[in-house]
């Protein structure tokens, strides 16, 4: 039987260990963010945001095409995925008690856990091969497949949170169930749903693998959805593995812009939640 002192010492040591664990966990975060700023901030000039790729040996190239491409394809993914995701979320919350609800929830979790590269080759077989071309549409579709389960699950949670008293009041006033659900309940849960969408968008904006065989990439600025399109993560990848200092430098800058985009979307989600909590 250990002495009281031994037990105290062990206790203190383990407490210290958990402090160290927390520190070690946060260390890479600090390292990455600091590196991004240090190596990337200097390259964020006017050219970077307004020009697209230039051939090797030329200077003054930028990531305009990649930034636009990411915004475009995330936008596409939202157009396709958010209505479907919200619809499924409402279904799960309102009618999801039975077997179908359980199945859909299970499937949503399966999609959440599927590696995005697998979703990428799926989008390739579905949209690239039959259409005979790489396209931003295929890229947007692949991203939408990632988006839908996340939006569905968060929508379900948010709609569930709406108190039943609200529903009953609406029904008592003569609203049919569908109007109760669509107008009253959804509007109340609205901020939460939008939060879920923003979280999903921030996740999807950083995805590279699904775009490798769908959007392919483009040196030119293009907003045509039936043509290949550049994207921030794709461009960062190409430039990171290249041997040219010029490319590497731009990769860091692109990564900085990407993380800022992801963080802004996530921050937006947080601010929306806080506003909602203050209201509720």
């Amino acid at each position: 039987m250990a002495t009281r002192l031994t037990r105290r010492v062990i206790g203190a040591a383990m407490t210290g260990a958990t402090y160290s664990a927390a520190l070690l966990a946060i260390l890479p975060l600090a390292a990455i963010l600091v590196m991004l700023v240090m190596k990337g901030a200097g390259s964020l000039d006017w050219n970077f945001f307004t020009r697209s790729s230039v051939p090797l040996g030329e200077t003054g190239g930028g990531f305009a095409h990649a930034i636009a491409g990411t915004l475009m394809m995330v936008g596409l993914a939202c157009l396709i995925g958010i209505p479907i995701g919200i619809g499924i979320g409402i279904f799960l919350a309102e009618f999801g008690g039975g077997a179908l609800g359980t199945l859909v929830r299970f499937v949503a979790d399966v999609f959440n856990g599927t590696p995005s590269i697998v979703l990428g080759i799926f989008a390739w077989t579905w949209l690239v091969k039959p259409m005979g071309r790489f396209s931003a549409l295929a890229g947007g579709f692949a991203l939408a497949v990632i988006l839908v389960p996340i939006v569905a699950r968060t929508t379900e949670e948010m709609v569930r949170l709406v108190p039943n008293s609200l529903r009953e009041a609406a029904l008592a006033l003569g609203y049919p169930r569908w109007r109760t659900s669509l107008q009253i309940v959804t509007r109340t849960a609205g901020t939460g749903i939008v939060t879920g969408c923003l979280v999903a968008m921030s996740r999807v904006a950083g995805e590279t693998a699904p775009l490798l065989f769908t959007a392919l990439g483009n040196q030119f600025f293009s907003l045509r959805i039936l043509e290949p399109m550049a994207a921030l993560p794709l461009q960062v990848y190409s430039y990171a593995i290249g041997p040219y200092d010029e490319w590497n430098r731009q990769a860091w800058a692109g990564a900085l812009v990407l993380i800022l985009l992801v963080l802004v979307l996530g921050l937006g989600a947080r601010l929306a939640t806080r506003g909602h909590q203050r209201q509720a």
Partner: protein, 361 residues
């Protein structure tokens, strides 16, 4: 209200997607393939579209294997490869392909040996031995024998090869298969082979990067990548027994013998590795653009043909600055005939008298 501000964010994204588009091109051509000629192709696209703002040519350098694949799948308008399509691949698409050579290039054996001041010399045996994993140290007797007086370190040889389907790999393995029976038996030639040893790098860029960052590394890249990254590369002994540097002259010399014998109905799929000639560089090759003999879209096919005409004629002067050798005159003549033979809906796309700006300067 919070919700409207959040919705605002979403609306902004959607609005961007529907925003009026910037100056859009009328004709967009997509091509994909070899990383080997990427520097010259991107230069050509830049120069060509300077005076033709209504044309956009998007070339993705994903490796020759990718170029062939995408071409077969018809997901691109043209493919690009340094390893020509095999007979079975051509049969599989009904023979509907033209190989148009664009430039000549050389594959250089690059290495990373800090402190070494002289240029290393490689014999065919040394290269085969290294890539077969039989030579594992830089101060191996075989390397020392070919490099008398050079202080070779006792470091491990780190082989770097391509991890993606690559025409550069095809050129290099084609060469090794010709000079080493062992290599031919064990590995063979192809755009992607079962490498006995080594690290994989993606694209010419990837191999260049890895060699540059790894002391003791040796790899093979297209010459321009070695030049632009200032990576040292070695001399290679050719069939005539001379140690030759990869230069414009030696690359052109490599093609000379093969070009002289070119038949009028050639499909241009000729290998010029390990050729005769005292000055010939042994690891040289054409690089080809793949396009369909029978196209489907008249406007795009015409634009592509006009671009290729320009590329194989006027634009050859850009090649030398980047370390590629221009096409021999006889080859260009034959290319003209081929380009004029491309049809859409049964009719030739280019008029028979097509000859912008006169013949090749």
């Amino acid at each position: 209200m919070r919700m409207t501000s959040s919705l605002g964010l979403l609306a902004a994204a959607a609005a961007f997607a529907a925003a009026p588009l910037a100056a859009q091109s009328e004709i967009r051509i997509t091509g994909a393939g070899a990383t080997f000629p990427y520097p010259i192709y991107s230069k050509w696209v830049l120069e060509y579209t300077k005076t033709r703002p209504n044309i956009e040519i998007n070339y993705q350098s994903i490796g020759s294997g990718g170029g062939i694949r995408q071409f077969i799948d018809r997901t691109v308008d043209f493919g690009a490869t340094d390893g020509p399509m095999t007979d079975s691949q051509i049969t599989a698409i009904g023979g509907n392909v033209l190989h148009i050579p664009t430039v000549l290039g050389a594959v250089a054996p690059v290495y990373n040996l800090p402190g070494l001041t002289q240029q290393l010399r490689f014999t065919p045996d040394i290269l085969a031995g290294i890539f077969l994993g039989q030579i594992t140290k830089w101060n191996d007797s075989r390397i020392a024998a070919a490099n008398p007086g050079v202080q070779l370190p006792n470091t491990d040889v780190v082989v770097v090869h391509r991890s993606d389907g690559s025409g550069t790999t095809f050129i290099f393995t084609d060469y090794l298969a010709k000079v080493s029976g062992d290599w031919l038996r064990r590995v063979g030639r192809g755009t992607a082979v079962n490498w006995p040893v080594g690290l994989g790098g993606r694209g010419n860029e990837g191999v260049a990067t890895t060699v540059r960052r790894t002391p003791g590394a040796v790899g093979y890249v297209e010459l321009v990548y070695a030049l632009q990254n200032r990576i040292p590369y070695g001399l290679v002994r050719n069939r005539a027994g001379q140690f030759v540097n990869a230069t414009l002259q030696s690359t052109t010399a490599a093609a000379a013998a093969a070009v002289a014998d070119l038949a009028a109905d050639t499909d241009f799929r000729i290998s010029i590795t390990d050729t005769e000639g005292a000055e010939a560089y042994p690891i040289a090759s054409f690089t080809w653009i793949l396009l369909p003999k029978q196209g489907t879209d008249l406007a795009r096919t015409r634009a592509l043909l006009e671009f290729l005409w320009w590329a194989t004629h006027d634009a050859q002067r850009f090649a030398t600055a980047l370390g590629y050798a221009p096409l021999p005159a006889r080859v260009v003549q034959l290319i003209e005939t081929r380009l004029k033979s491309v049809t859409v809906a049964g009719r030739p796309v280019l008029p028979a008298a097509y000859a912008p700006g006169g013949t090749r300067r």
